[in-house]
């Protein structure tokens, strides 16, 4: 695959190194001259000095034959423009953008960016999922399926502790994929009983999320 990465910060750097090791053709674009020098010393021709937002630069590095364009600069607006230009002007199949502000996810997806990664959101999810909160924490979005993977650690006082899954009104659109209890993996069935501190993983679409919360007695 030919992959173009915009933004030679730490993320761009490690992405480039890893993808090169995996055998892909990678081109990293960095616009700052001193940062470019540092990167060039180690990565050689895999890094080019230029601004990935500029059409001229992208044309020079053969953006129209790129399979993926990844934008990982420190600014959401730059990442948006890099991906939009790649998609609209160069018809690149897959665009991935880093999001610093998780609230920008909606506009990015609306404008046709294929995949967004928000380190803020990812860490937030990790922090929340560890807390004994009673809300489903979104872990990951499966864009092609229109589904989200969500996690809930059943709190002690939960109204469904001791109930069997068949007695809980699960929405049809929801799939309880896995329960982890005391480090054991349990494939849930209708007879599975819910215990306190169970780690429940479910696949759910946007509409089903509320229903699921209601079923588990976690709707505020």
């Amino acid at each position: 695959m030919y992959i173009i990465i915009g933004g030679g910060g730490e993320v761009g750097y490690y992405l480039t190194k890893n993808l090169l090791t995996q055998g892909h053709e990678v081109l990293l674009l960095e616009k700052g001259s001193s940062r470019y020098q540092t990167l060039n010393d180690e990565l050689g021709p895999a890094v080019v000095r230029g601004d990935a937002c500029e059409a001229r630069t992208m044309a020079e590095v053969g953006a129209s034959r790129a399979d993926v364009v990844i934008a990982v600069t420190g600014d959401d607006e730059d990442n948006l423009v890099i991906c939009q230009m790649a998609k609209k002007r160069y018809k690149v199949g897959r665009t991935i953008a880093r999001l610093n502000n998780p609230k920008h996810e909606e506009i990015f997806l609306k404008l046709g960016i294929d995949l967004t990664v928000s380190p803020t959101r990812a860490i937030l999810s990790l922090v929340e999922s560890d807390l004994p909160s009673s809300r489903f924490v979104p872990l990951m979005t499966l864009k092609n399926a229109g589904l989200e993977i969500v996690e809930l650690r059943i709190p002690e006082k939960s109204p469904i502790v001791g109930k069997m899954l068949r007695d809980i009104n699960l929405p049809r659109s929801c799939n309880l994929a896995l329960i982890i209890r005391d480090k054991q993996f349990i494939s849930p069935t209708a007879e599975t009983q819910i215990y306190a501190h169970d780690d429940v993983f479910a696949l759910v679409n946007r509409e089903g999320e509320e229903e699921l919360s209601r079923a588990f007695g976690t709707l505020d």
């Binding site: 059409a55 001229r56 730059d78 948006l80 423009v81 002007r89 506009i107």
Partner: protein
């Protein structure tokens, strides 16, 4: 007309003053509150310090009731992103965006964005004056 202007630089502040004088309801957003000093002392509109690509800031500036939005910061990409947020998320009817880079401006104009490219306009004006010289 209610208008939200993003960017209180030379163009932004001049535009804000003009619209305010013409009797419209103006709010101006800028990252730096010092920029608001460029506004006329009898400016009757609102000033909102903050990041113009942050939806909460835009909402505070009244974008939900706005008839028009103009993005005139000195950053092309910020203008592009803010304009698209105004159009796609807040459905503002009239959205105008300043883009200095001619190629970027062309791409976004083709996508249906209303753009102004001072680079091309300026170069054209100089050209028109100089070309008549022998």
């Amino acid at each position: 007309m209610k208008i939200v202007i993003l960017g209180c630089g030379r163009v932004g502040s001049t535009l804000a003053n003009m619209l305010d004088q013409a009797g419209h309801t103006v709010s101006v957003i800028d990252f730096s509150s010092e920029a608001f000093q460029r506004l006329s002392p009898d400016f009757g509109g609102e000033t909102i310090p903050g990041n113009g690509v942050d939806e909460e800031v835009l909402i505070r500036a009244g974008i939900k009731e706005a008839d028009a939005f103009a993005a005139v910061t000195n950053g092309d990409n910020r203008n592009i992103m803010a304009s698209q947020i105004a159009k796609e998320i807040f459905k503002v009817k009239k959205v105008m965006c300043r883009i200095y880079d001619p190629i970027r401006e062309e791409t976004y104009r083709e996508l249906g964005m209303e753009t102004i490219c001072p680079t091309k306009v300026g170069a054209q004006m100089f050209f028109d004056e100089l070309i008549v010289l022998k």
